[in-house]
Structures are given as C-alpha cells and as structure tokens.
Amino acid sequence: MWVGIGVFLAGGLGALSRAGVDALVKPWWSRRATGPSKAFPASTFLINVSGAFVLGIVTGYAVKNVAGGAQDFASIVGVGFLGAYTTFSTEEWHSLGLLRKNAAVEAFNVLGSLGASLVLAALGLWIGSLL
C-alpha cells in the first residue's frame, strides 16, 4: 500500500520533470538547430536516454540486492519516477510525424535513441551491480 502511494507520487514527479525538461530544451533546440535537425525531437531524446541510464543503475542495484528495501526503492524510483519521466508513446508519436515529413531525421532519431539508450542502460546496469 505505502509502496503504491510512493509510486503514485514519484510518477507524478516524473511526469512533471519531463514537462520541465521539455520546457527548457524545446526552445533552446529550436534556437540552436538549423535545417533538417530542427525536426529532431532533442528534448524527448535527452529525457529517454538519461532515464534509461539511471534506470539501468537502479535495476542493477535491485538485482544484486534482493532485500525488501532495495525492491521498494526500485519500485518507487524505477517504476514510479523513471518510468513516468521517460515516455514511449511520445517517442512513437514523433516517429510517426517524422516518417511522413523527414525520413532521414527519423532514421537518426530511432537509431540514435535506441543505440544511446541501450549502451548507457547497459553501463548503468553494470554500475548498479557494483553498488
């Protein structure tokens, strides 16, 4: 029950943090980017890659430390905060829009997001297993 309430609060904070990063990065990127790179969803990319890295650390730690405290921590911070901070649906929505407008940017977006997330999450899993 208490873990569920923790997940609710952490999920709310995660979604709010995503909105905060969006509010900072979107205007910055549209000022800086030129040409086709303007269409690249830099904010969602940063959010998803950073969240995957930190969830790697949390998961690596929780796999090694099977005590209840570590599992509750993984539920609240991992499932709650990081799960809500990162977003699959928005990434796919951007992909759909880019496929219709700019396939080259979409290829970079999907391969870059997957590649950077997979490598950094693997690094995070390793770091977390050392904690």
């Binding site: 709310g12 979604a15 499932v79 977003t87 929505w93 829009g97």
Partner: protein, 132 residues
Amino acid sequence: MTILAIVVGGGIGATLRYLLGLGLAPATPPHFPWVTFVINMVGAFALGAVMTLLAAHRLPGPWGKPFLSTGLIGGFTTWSHFIVESDQLIGALRSGIGIAYLVVSIVGGVLAAALGARLAELRVGHPAGRGA
C-alpha cells in the same frame, strides 16, 4: 492547474503500470516482457488518438494536453523499462528475444500511434493537423 494536471495524470499512469506489473507477471528475463509491451502499445495508440482529437479541438485543451498526454499517457508508457528489459534479455544471452522485442515494439508503436490517429480522424470527420 497545469502542474496539478500533469502530476495527477502522471501519478495515475505510473500507478496503473505498477499494478499491471504486480498483477500479471514479473518482468524478469529471459521471458518476453509482455506487460511493458502491451502497456506501450496501448499508450502509443491512445496518444495518437488524443493528439489528433486535441489538434481538432475535440478535447478541452487547457487540461486535455497536460492531464491526458503529458501526464496519464506519458506516465503510463515507459521508454526506460523497455530499454533495460532489452539489455537484460541480450545480457542473459537471449539476444534473439531482445532484438525481437526492440523491433516489434518500435514498429508496433508507430503502427499503433497511426491507427489511433486514423480512428480519431474518422471520428472527427476530417484529417487533423499532425504537429508533433
């Protein structure tokens, strides 16, 4: 009000995902992570529909976007678990399942978003703007 809508929406989305994960199956490798997969497909479909309805002004904009899109659906779906589960499958020498999970999720997610957008377009009667 916008901040409250995001926090409540995100909290509900994350809690639903947590309860589904508890109730259905532990997402432990080496099995295909069905729970996260279904959550992400449902969410991509729903976001396609919601964004289309918002663009056509068929949902109340002031709370529709922060509560439904940024909060509820954004908090329900998860990129980070999708990635970590894929890494765990590959690390557990289940690369075939891991790569299949990656490909089916990405392709399925785009198709689900397109289907949601298309159904919403049919509902509103005309193609809506598609700004991401």
